[in-house]
């Protein structure tokens, strides 16, 4: 859930470089993200994502609201969620932790480091929640 397409591409690079295959769904604003989360409970439960990469600063609905909605979801409430944000204020980190995010990552400045996030993604994918 990321409004910046450039960062979405970088996330794909990171995933690919770390051999993570699968479908990457990009939702560009908070409203689309909320609709997606709410739609999950209407389904069969197989459609929960394996990993949610969430930016706190989404247009329309906020990332916090989306995170809350994910955790409240009956079917998919235990999905691993990693916050990937351009800021790293104390307030954001503690809110994320409080709302149940598994990890908080700041978008790194350099390409290498961004790609390196892939290892964190892989680790989170193997969490049995």
């Amino acid at each position: 859930m990321e409004d910046n397409r450039a960062d979405a591409i970088l996330v794909r690079e990171a995933l690919e470089e770390h051999g993570i295959e699968g479908e990457l769904l990009v939702l560009e604003d908070g409203e689309k993200a909320m609709d997606f989360v709410q739609a999950l409970d209407g389904g069969s439960g197989d459609e929960c994502p394996n990993l949610v990469i969430l930016d706190l600063n989404l247009p329309k609905k906020s990332g916090r609201d989306v995170l809350r909605a994910i955790r409240l979801s009956e079917k998919c409430g235990r999905v691993p969620v990693v916050i990937l944000s351009s800021s790293d204020t104390q307030q954001d980190k503690s809110d994320a932790a409080q709302l149940g995010a598994n990890q908080y990552l700041r978008k790194p400045l350099g390409l290498e480091e961004f790609i390196g996030l892939g290892s964190t993604f892989r680790a989170l994918l193997h969490i049995r929640s």
Partner: protein, 637 residues
């Protein structure tokens, strides 16, 4: 009069007669008739002469007295002659002494005694007496008695006058018409310091104060004309040179014919009075000339005095307010303050800098600060209040303007800080895009672009990276002052240095830097700022090294009220002419190709040190390393 012996001898008439008779004898005997006539002539003379004469026997019996002797005391002949002389002397011891001396052949002259008159009054007399003897036998005294009452009274009066002059506190002196001092009382000695011996015979101008010398001839001239000079206030000089304030009264002295022969002067030392009244005038002048309103009122609140400052402040003249109640000045909502203030004053309390509002004659409301104190009489009882009212309207206005300016400034500062911080923050994102995508471009399409293309992209990447670093440093710079309040605790500089060195671990290892230090103190600073300070300075020392591995020495010593830190390196040094420039924002002495850096490091250091109340500077020579010094004030707790 002394009781001395007389020299003149009194001779009995008979003796006189027989002598002259004998002298005439050689030729013809005087006739009996002639002798008888001469005898009666002499008898008449003796009986009627105006001087009291008498004969007294050895045992004190009065044998004979002439008419004058009887008249002296007022007795009839039979009341006096034949009685004992002792009866008529007031002091028995005196008359007995007289008789004793006469028996001893002493001759008495001006021997004083007091005689009792018939009417009971006492007369002062002087007795001249000797003894008439025949063949050594005491026949009778030859007494002449002089009435000295008048003289005695005069001399007693004189003594009393002298006593009065001598005992006076004032200086009483007399001078001749030419100004020569002729008499000088003890009061004058006390006031002027000269003894009578020292001053009598000198000119009165000896006492004159220098600027008053002309008065003296003027006073003498008026005296000669018969004028009096009364209560003339002037100044005179004492023996020790001290100047006194004096009130003079000078009158002419006339002799018995009425001619003016001198001047008598009474001088009163009024120095203390004058000082007191000068002081009073001075204080009154101070009150009058004060810019503040100074008002006094009695315990009922009735205005008693009103100075010029009060006239100016409130607009009322003294005539308009004196006698009125103080509440005429109060703004309507403040009227209740007045009884409260008066109550506190009567209890002896002071009211200090009480800020309130009062109303002027033309109805304007003023902000005033009042100080009201009790006025006490000599016994210490409170009899009124004195009030100083200062117009603080202007001050109040200025205070408010200052507060507003301060608040505006604070807000503007805060705005600026926030702006700087968020600007540097917001600029980060686009920069990150440039950075990462330049790298991604190189990675994905590097081969297609060829070496030149790679080089160009390299410059873009470098530029972006530099920009990032600048923004980070700018954020750090604004953050130094954003901390807000003063630190309330000390930080251990040694520990902060350890933190900084830990952050620079890689750079230290790679450069082979050797770092030594003395014991470092605790100082009143935020720990993270002290850490940043050390980190920046040591990072510079490592970065700007010469060919040798960096050797860095960190020291601290106490200098008076501050700690002096020094960080010395053996690096490339700084030209003296750039010593101040290096601390500027974004200032660099080298290109990015020579040495990396943003030019913010030392600017941040300076901001940190100055915020902590110290100073930072560098001593260096090109090629001989640099020593950075900074001071931090030592705070006694």
């Amino acid at each position: 009069m002394d009781r001395s012996e007389t020299e003149t001898q009194l001779v009995s008439p008979a003796a006189v007669e027989s002598e002259t008779a004998l002298n005439r004898l050689p030729n013809s005997p005087a006739s009996e008739g002639e002798l008888r006539r001469r005898l009666s002539e002499l008898q008449d003379f003796i009986d009627r002469v105006a001087v009291p004469l008498q004969w007294v026997a050895e045992d004190g019996t009065i044998l004979w007295a002439n008419d004058a002797g009887l008249r002296l005391l007022g007795y009839l002949r039979e009341e006096y002659v034949g009685h004992n002389i002792v009866e008529f002397h007031v002091d028995e011891s005196v008359i007995l002494d007289i008789l004793r001396r006469l028996k001893n052949n002493e001759e008495l002259r001006d021997y004083e005694s007091r005689l009792r008159c018939k009417d009971g009054s006492i007369r002062d007399v002087a007795i001249n007496s000797s003894v008439y003897r025949e063949d050594g036998r005491f026949i009778h005294t030859r007494c002449v008695t002089q009435d000295v009452s008048a003289q005695k009274k005069a001399s007693e009066l004189q003594d009393r006058m002298t006593a009065i002059v001598d005992s006076s506190d004032d200086a009483i002196l007399s001078k001749s018409l030419s100004g020569i001092i002729q008499s000088w009382n003890p009061g004058a000695e006390r006031i002027f310091g000269y003894t009578a011996e020292e001053i009598i015979g000198k000119h009165i101008s000896t006492l004159a104060a220098p600027e008053r010398a002309d008065e003296i001839p003027d006073i003498l001239a008026r005296i000669s004309r018969g004028e009096r000079v009364e209560h003339f206030e002037t100044r005179r000089k004492t023996k020790s040179g001290r100047i006194l304030a004096i009130s003079l009264t000078v009158s002419p002295i006339r002799d018995s014919s009425g001619k003016i022969v001198g001047a008598s002067k009474v001088a009163r030392d009024i120095t203390l009075q004058k000082e007191a009244s000068d002081l009073k005038e001075h204080l009154a002048a101070i009150v009058e000339s004060s810019d503040d309103a100074i008002i006094s009122k009695d315990l009922n609140g009735i205005i008693q005095s009103w100075n010029r400052g009060a006239e100016r402040l409130f607009g009322y003249s003294a005539e308009e307010v004196i006698g009125q109640h103080i509440s005429m000045l109060a703004a309507p909502e403040r009227v209740d303050e007045i009884p409260d203030i008066l109550a506190r004053i009567s209890r002896g309390e002071r009211v200090d800098h009480f800020e309130t509002a009062r109303k002027t004659k033309d109805g304007r409301i003023l902000n005033v600060a009042l100080t009201v104190s009790p006025i006490r009489d000599a016994s210490g009882a409170v009899i009124g209040a004195s009030k100083v009212a200062r117009d603080i309207t202007e001050r109040r206005r200025q205070e408010q303007a200052l507060n507003k300016a301060n608040a505006d400034l604070k807000r503007s500062n805060a705005d600026l800080q926030h702006f700087a911080y968020s600007a540097s923050h917001d600029l980060q994102e686009p920069l990150r895009m440039v950075c990462t995508y330049s790298e991604l471009l190189k990675k994905k399409f590097g081969e297609k672009l060829g070496p030149l293309g790679e080089e160009y992209i390299g410059y873009a990447v470098e530029g972006a990276a530099r920009m990032e670093q600048l923004l980070a440093d700018l954020r750090a710079y604004t953050q130094v002052s954003m901390a807000g309040q003063e630190p309330t605790e000390d930080s251990d500089a040694g520990e902060m240095l350890n933190e900084a060195l830990a952050n620079l671990e890689v750079a230290i290892r790679e450069s082979g830097a050797a770092i030594s230090r003395t014991t470092l103190p605790s100082v009143r600073m935020y720990g993270f700022q002290l850490e940043q300070l050390f980190q920046n300075l040591i990072s510079n020392a490592i970065r700007y090294r010469s060919n040798d591995p960096p050797r860095i020495e960190i020291a601290a010593q106490r200098r008076g009220a501050e700690w002096l830190f020094s960080i010395q390196d053996n690096g490339i040094g700084i030209r003296p002419e750039y010593k101040e420039q290096v601390f500027g924002i974004f200032q660099r002495l080298h290109s990015a190709a020579e040495f990396p850096g943003t030019g913010m490091g030392l600017a941040i250091c300076q901001r940190i040190v100055e915020r902590a109340g110290g100073r930072i500077w560098v001593e260096s020579e090109l090629g001989r390393g640099s020593t950075f010094f900074f001071t931090i004030p030592h705070r006694e707790d």
